[in-house]
Symmetry: C2
């Protein structure tokens, strides 16, 4: 049989995945699970695509704010625009201290747009922008072994959902091309919406709860009516989702050479993974390939990451 | 070729459906639509199952309130319990005048339950309750021709969603058995939810917007990322959803003998259907069969419909 996960090195993580899938799909076996119940849910940022040095969507938003300041220089003295034009990474990194300003900036940038108009802006971003340190187009920052895993699960009767803490309507634009995941299988955070005069408009509010932390199991339930049979994440924001899954997989960013090495924001998840025997995926040891195209190195200026 | 809609009489409605589906599935044809974009959305109450003399879920709720009064007779003097024990159909029918009392009653009945515990109660209801005038179990009040239509669309590459103004977690319990629609394809109104200690709890709030009226296109977008290629409804609450669809189908309740005849609550939808050339389905003329089992007539006392 062909190896269904050729970009994974042989090791405990790959063996555990193959073993689990073999068990739940073996008809007549003790661990058999009917296809209707085979729900898989994956976080996106840091689990399916690279989230460093800044979230892909943050780059999209920062570029938009930069363009807004170019069109109206008076904004440059006002947050959050000020932090972007001054490349004030510390201000931007302290997101939780600046929620009102950030929400106001998001509302001003995208509130009132139709969902179609927003999608056009996302498409333009992906057509043009490159990752600030890898140098490749953002549509190429997905992890090849994880894309293989999604396809392998799909081929084994799983219904695979992306469950992103970031913007659902942002990820949907590239989900099919990058991951083979159709739009209706992308769950995530989103704005409040209004239907009027035949179109859907983004309002300035944010649908609650957002799809992170304890909000992830809520989103998965409302969208699927189930808890996941298998879930994959990489950070503390994925902990609640991973807790609800029969098989939990945690991507560990330990590959400074090919990607990034960091545990910040994943400390609790790593501890619980060790305590509960979850499958920890070492990007360094378990991935034979990380990206589809070789990084070219930093080529892009102008992003404040 | 076998007739894919054997419970539909030949006529304009059936011809329009077959024609539309043939057009969007003809590869190379001008009207071809890729399978990824073939989203179909159907209202449930009055579109897929009988909603008279009272909503199925209303009967479920009223029985629960009746049981609560039996356990605590002091509730009998308080609304909404009073209306149920006194069979005050007028009070219950004027729902919009009694929203605070009704929400309080719903919150008291189901708030704080886990999603699993709620599902157990729904299962018990369907195992036991019968339709008050048809006399058949509620799982048999689906319209056979509409179930055929869902299967026909599915066989033609459509992704079929139920988009109910009623409770998503109520319909999901029987959606697969009654309609062949898996849980993740049931969109609908729901309570606010909280994840804690490994379980999902129903809170006393209601997720906004509810999945009715202008809320339907919002729900369909958030769950699918698309507007429907085909949509089916029966009332003014479905108008916004039908407006967004390429092919709109309106079930007209004009069969007093086999089901019910009523236009109340559908006046605007019927007018727009006529104005826009939507496909109006006459239950009397277009359905050769309505229900899977013959109604036995009223057998159940105790419901206040």
């Amino acid at each position: 049989m062909n190896d269904p996960l050729p970009s994974w090195n042989d090791g405990a993580a790959k063996a555990a995945i193959l073993d689990f899938v073999a068990g739940v799909t073996a008809e007549g076996g003790q661990g058999y699970v009917a296809p209707t119940e085979r729900i898989a849910a994956f976080d996106n940022d840091g689990t399916l695509w690279c989230e460093k040095p800044l979230y892909v969507q943050a780059d999209f938003i920062f570029r938009k704010w930069t363009a807004m300041v170019a069109a109206d220089p008076s904004l440059a003295s006002e947050q959050p625009y000020k932090a972007v034009v001054e490349r004030d990474g510390a201000w931007l990194a302290a997101m939780l201290d600046h929620v009102p300003e950030l929400l106001k900036g998001l509302g001003t940038a995208f509130g009132g747009l139709t969902t179609d108009a927003f999608e056009d802006q996302v498409r333009a971003f992906f057509a043009d922008a490159r990752h600030p340190t890898l140098g490749v187009p953002y549509a190429k920052v997905g992890y090849v072994p994880m894309v293989e895993l999604l396809a392998y699960l799909d081929a084994n009767g799983f219904k695979v959902f992306i469950c992103t803490g970031g913007g659902r309507d942002f990820v949907r634009v590239v989900g099919e091309e990058m991951y083979g995941i159709p739009r209706e299988r992308v769950i995530g955070s989103g704005p409040t919406l209004e239907y009027r005069d035949g179109a859907l408009y983004r309002l300035t509010g944010v649908e609650q709860p957002i799809d992170d932390g304890a909000g992830k199991p809520v989103h998965i339930w409302t969208r699927t009516g189930r808890t996941p049979l298998l879930a994959g994440g990489n950070s503390d924001g994925d902990l609640a989702m991973l807790e609800t899954a029969r098989f939990a997989l945690l991507v560990h960013h330990d590959d400074a050479e090919r990607e990034f090495a960091y545990d910040t924001g994943s400390e609790r998840a790593l501890a619980e993974a060790a305590a509960c025997g979850w499958t920890v995926v070492s990007m360094k040891d378990d991935f034979s390939t990380v990206f589809e195209v070789a990084p070219t190195g930093a080529v892009v200026a102008g992003t404040p990451g």
